[in-house]
């Protein structure tokens, strides 16, 4: 193993990690806002990838241009999921935790079933997109352009999210509702509206990730499942309740995955991610940057 191989794979790990962060941040945002883990997060990613695919196949819209459209569509979808399902799940007087897990898990199964029904279980891919298959060489390291674009989008999205949460009225409403949902009602903020917008925003972010990933991953009804588990681990590793934690968690997960793939057979690359998660929470039971 040469130094070059190591640097090469760490660089791709970093790019993938930034994308993992982008996938996970929606989950972290929703959890931070209302302590709910969305077990259909992977399926949100899946429909975003399909949306990108169909925009490309029917209207020849490149994934790069489709990304904002897909994010907007997912925003609406996320808000609807909150208003139609999650709103009632959080009201449950008994077993609130289990009700949240299983109502969103049930939704995930329905979404997978619908995808199979309408799109068939066939594997699909976006071929000949603007960036697809291109690589660029930086200081002797070859980087795939779509992943590079994904990393850039991820950094921009995190920057925008940071600005949004800290510098806008809605961001303040979000923070306030997260601090004390009862008290914000007293100052005239509609809790349900803030939660719906939070779900919309979380879904829009994973929509962005889905549009990028459609450029270099196969698209099929179960595609969300494997990424969802990585997203949960990413959020927990970074610490529940911390949006920045998801960003850092994503980078760590990407680097660990790449390093594991260097040392172990590729089929075991996820073992490294899981082992690092366990190691971190055994030492720090609230994740790296978690508040709870």
């Amino acid at each position: 193993m040469t130094a070059e191989t190591i640097i090469q794979s760490l660089a791709s790990g970093l790019l993938m990690g930034l994308l993992y962060g982008l996938i996970a941040v929606g989950l972290a945002l929703i959890f931070g806002l209302m302590d709910v883990v969305n077990f259909a997060h992977g399926e949100f990613l899946m429909i975003a990838m399909y949306a990108t695919f169909f925009l490309f196949a029917f209207f020849a819209i490149d994934p790069l241009l489709a990304a904002p459209l897909v994010a907007a569509a997912l925003f609406v979808f996320g808000a609807l999921v909150y208003l139609l399902i999650v709103r009632f799940a959080v009201r449950a007087k008994a077993n609130a935790g289990m009700v949240q897990i299983f109502s969103t898990f049930g939704l995930a199964i329905v979404m997978r079933g619908l995808a199979q029904f309408f799109f068939t279980p066939d594997y699909r891919s976006v071929t000949h997109s603007w960036l697809g298959g291109k690589t660029v060489s930086i200081a002797g390291i070859f980087l795939p352009v779509p992943q590079l674009a994904g990393a850039l989008v991820s950094i921009l999205a995190f920057g925008a999210l940071y600005f949004f949460i800290n510098r806008t009225d809605f961001g303040r409403a979000l923070e306030a509702t997260r601090e004390d949902a009862g008290a914000v009602a007293l100052v005239g903020i509609d809790k349900n509206r803030v939660f719906a917008l939070g779900w919309g925003l979380g879904a829009a972010l994973v929509g962005l990730a889905g549009a990028i990933m459609a450029m270099f991953f196969y698209i099929y009804p179960d595609v969300g499942a494997s990424f969802a588990l990585i997203a949960y681990v990413t959020v927990a590793l970074g610490g529940f309740g911390s949006v920045f934690g998801a960003f850092a968690g994503g980078i760590i997960v990407g680097l660990v995955e790449a390093s594991t793939a260097l040392l172990l057979p590729p089929s075991l690359k996820s073992v490294g991610i899981y082992a690092v998660y366990l190691l971190v929470v055994f030492i720090r039971p609230r994740g790296l940057f978690g508040s709870i």
Binding site: I109, V110, Y277
Partner: protein
């Protein structure tokens, strides 16, 4: 209050005995192999969900990684039998003991974790085991292991002609899991678990040994789950990592208890009786098209039940009973 609790327990026991006897008689009238197959699976899931309920329902430590213990039970039995000729009965016991020990070894660091950190730890530990088994050539790797079948034998616990022996074993297993839960409910452990579930800090300050009671729940729960896994391996006579250790399996084990009523004695039984036949029927009647309609029906049902009946379907019965008293 005390006498009514004792009365309720006695009544539960009588109802369970009547149910068990009735269930044992069903195969005398129902000869259809397809239906018998569904009944075996229903009883198996009732037993598994009851085992899961001990740790996750009563003790409140939600595990979504119980596929690990199921898989360990299946693999221990099958490997001992195919590689060393050890009879499945010993494998079953051995798998149970290994799983209980591993559950305690894992519980040692994991029980410090709370909430979602604990849930995710249980998921990733089962995933690690799944990946290791998929890459373990001696144990058949991802292809799995075929259990060689040498004709009907109670000694080797294999039956090709009839499903009835499997049915009675599954019924016995469901009864044992139910009885263990019934007995634990009123034991020192049962009270400790409820205290740990409601408020671990308060329980600790009142002298409940929180850590040990979690370990006890994990060991019992893992042992019973592994016996279920050993049974399943014999029943289908073929195992591979994905089918006995996959994440889906952990969820399938939890679902009957959740829908029936988590942390209740009858929840897992009721949940399994409703859910498993429904799953199997939707799969064979509308799932054959391969177009996911079974998933749509199944998922919608999960969403609706969990939203409409957060306390589980057993709530329907207790409400009516309350109404009758009034």
């Amino acid at each position: 209050m005390d006498t009514s609790f004792a009365q309720r327990r006695r009544r539960d026991l009588i109802i369970a005995a009547v149910f068990a006897v009735l269930a044992a008689l069903v195969p005398l009238f129902v000869k259809d192999v397809y239906v018998q197959n569904i009944m075996v699976l229903t009883l198996m899931y009732a037993a598994l969900s009851q085992s899961w309920n001990i740790l996750s329902g009563y003790c409140g430590q939600i595990s979504l990684g119980h596929a690990l213990y199921f898989g360990l039970g299946a693999y221990t039995t099958t490997l001992l039998f195919t590689k060393f000729g050890v009879l499945p009965w010993f494998g079953m016991l051995g798998g149970g003991l290994i799983s209980a020990l591993i559950a305690m070894a894992l519980g040692y660091p994991c029980f410090r974790l709370r909430g979602h950190y604990f849930v995710i730890a249980t998921i990733v530990i089962a995933e690690i085991a799944l990946l290791l088994f998929q890459n373990w050539n001696w144990a058949g790797a991802a292809l799995g292991i075929d259990v060689p079948v040498h004709g009907d034998s109670w000694l080797r616990f294999q039956f090709t002609r009839s499903k009835l022996p499997y049915f009675y074993f599954a019924l016995a297993l469901a009864c044992v899991a139910w009885l263990v839960t019934w007995w634990l409910e009123d034991s020192k452990w049962g009270y400790w678990w409820r205290a740990v579930k409601d408020n671990p800090d308060a329980a600790e300050s009142l002298g409940v040994v929180v850590f040990n009671s979690k370990m006890g729940a994990a060991a019992v729960s893992a042992f019973l789950t592994a016996v279920g896994g050993a049974f399943y391996a014999q029943f289908v006579s073929y195992i591979d990592p994905e089918s006995v250790m996959g994440f889906q399996f952990s969820l399938l084990m939890a679902l009957p208890a959740v829908l029936g009523g988590i942390g209740t004695l009858w929840g897992p039984v009721l949940g399994a009786i409703i859910l498993i036949p429904l799953t199997e029927l939707t799969r064979s009647f509308i799932g054959g098209s391969g177009r996911g309609v079974d998933l749509i029906v199944y998922g919608t049902l999960i969403v609706l039940i969990s939203l409409a009946r957060p306390e589980g379907l057993v709530g329907l019965f207790s409400r009516r009973r309350k109404g009758a008293v009034q």
